[in-house]
Amino acid sequence: MRQLWLIGAFAGAVALMPAFVTSGAALNLAIMTLYAALLGQAWNILGGFGGQFSFGHAVFFGTGAYAMAVLQSGFGLNAWLALPLALALGAAVGLLVGALSFRYGLKGSYFALVTLAFAEVFRILANTFQFTGAGVGIQIPLRDSAADMQFAGKPGFLYAALTLVTASLLVAWWLKRSRYGAWLQAVRDNEESAAALGVDVFRVKLGAIAISGALMSAGGAFYLQYFRYIDPHIAYGPAISVEALLAAIVGGMGTVFGPLLGAAALQLLGEATRGLLEQTPGANLIAYGVLLVVVVMFLPRGIMGLFEAKR
């Protein structure tokens, strides 16, 4: 219950932000933090709660982004109608990847490699097909109206991102207090034991990758609406996969608020390094790498581990 209050308090605080903050840069930072938190939470559902470390979550992100782009520009569908289809497609790709890899018992680094391969295959396909705009990518027309999920100002996008992040937090909260969540964490900690206690390991993993895929494709859909442009490298490149896992690992895997904290830490660090080292493009990536090493070595349970040290 306490966590539910925290989620509510967080959503309320962020919702009030536009009333006090008018700086576009500050709002943009908040939006990008929420967006990174969404990606991190998507990864966290499968990696943190389920113990299946994906290195190719871009496969779901890109699918969401391309689904939104193609449905809007190719089929003339309204963005609000396209969104549920994009989520469903993300879940479907999750089921496909999951069915193919979990069926054969792929775990650990093998699973990570397979997901990376899937993302690469999708990138090459998006680069080839005409309906995805091939190498040129897709630009969706500027409409600037909430009816098309393109908000005239930053606050609109902030609320959209906040809605998605709050939904993802609620999913994580539900996993902490439901039978399915207990099963998923049991599978993470020991598959054999879980199976001996009546847990259908394969189906539990499939469920997690479907939920994770849907959330990640929501991140892709948001990205498209915000930047209005997608190409194969942005959609399916490794950068997005790394961004997702980084937020979850830095913040604390298998926790409700870890990805949010991780995303905030990474965004602030990124801003700081960009500000301090203006002449060195990519310095923020070096900082991310250093932070990841430090967290893995000294804070295996992430930033959240600092709060739970008593256990």
């Binding site: 207990a182 049991a186 009546g198």
Partner: protein, 254 residues
């Protein structure tokens, strides 16, 4: 209750289990014994669905469950424990047991309450909020049993729940296992602690090098010449008979 018919499996050139048939009677404690590497745990794996037999079949209460997945077998009322305890290390004792309780209880709060009841029954109620990884070996063995019990099985397969325990801890576990039978659970156990087998089991099967070599009451199998030889080497039975020392109960504690 549980019937194995002509079960066989080989790993490459090793015939781990060969043509083993047995019939575990309902409502009793039965035991499977044998020297190290005899194929006991492999046989458990075959029965509980973790391994698929090359030949033979497994019947649970008359129903063919050969090749069925472990979780499905568990849902039919047969739950196993592991020789090497496998707790969900990052979770508390309560959460560990609740995973078992969730088999029949969808509600989280009720499953946690059920877990608490099972923990009390096994003397784990003082450790409910500890991490499973912080328990002693004896505690982990109890936890393994508690989790299995929380699934409300009709038949429990216990793979060496007493191994690694000191005599006091063994003495503490015996009433627990006896209590299982009294509550109507059929128990089939692999055990090396002969004192426990003699104490608890009504029927014993002996397996050596993958083959069933004897079956009967504990007293019958421990005086069986083939069993003595399986444990102590060829010719031992004859030598012991000459010495007039047929009692091997103490030495079979492998």
């Amino acid at each position: 209750m549980l019937e194995a018919r002509h079960l066989s499996i080989r790993f490459g050139g090793l015939r781990a289990v060969q043509d083993v048939s047995l019939d575990v009677p309902q409502g009793q404690v039965s035991a499977l014994i044998g020297p190290n590497g005899a194929g006991k745990s492999t046989l458990f794996g075959l029965i509980s669905g973790f391994l698929r037999p090359d030949a033979g079949s497994v019947l649970l209460a008359g129903r063919d469950i050969t090749g069925m997945a472990p979780h499905a077998v568990c849902r039919l009322g047969m739950t196993r424990t592991f020789q090497i305890v496998q707790p969900f290390a990052g979770q508390t004792v309560r959460e560990n047991i609740a995973v078992g309780a969730h088999l029949h209880q969808a509600d989280r709060a009720r499953a946690l309450a059920d877990a608490e009841a099972v923990a009390r029954r096994l003397g784990l109620d003082g450790e409910l909020d500890k991490l499973a990884s912080s328990l002693t070996i004896a505690g982990r063995k109890r936890l393994e049993l508690a989790r299995a019990l929380a699934t409300q099985p009709r038949l429990l397969l216990l793979d060496e729940v007493l191994a690694g325990l000191n005599p006091q801890e063994v003495a503490g576990m015996l009433p627990v296992i006896r209590g299982l039978r009294e509550s109507g659970v059929t128990v089939f156990m692999i055990e090396h602690v002969m004192q426990a087998v003699m104490d608890l089991a009504e029927k014993v099967w002996v397996i050596s090098q993958g083959e069933l070599i004897a079956a009967g009451s504990p007293a019958q199998v421990t005086s069986d010449a083939r069993v003595i030889e399986a444990y102590l080497g060829h010719g031992t039975a004859q030598r012991l008979a000459l010495q007039g020392a047929a009692v091997i109960q103490g030495v079979t504690r492998a």
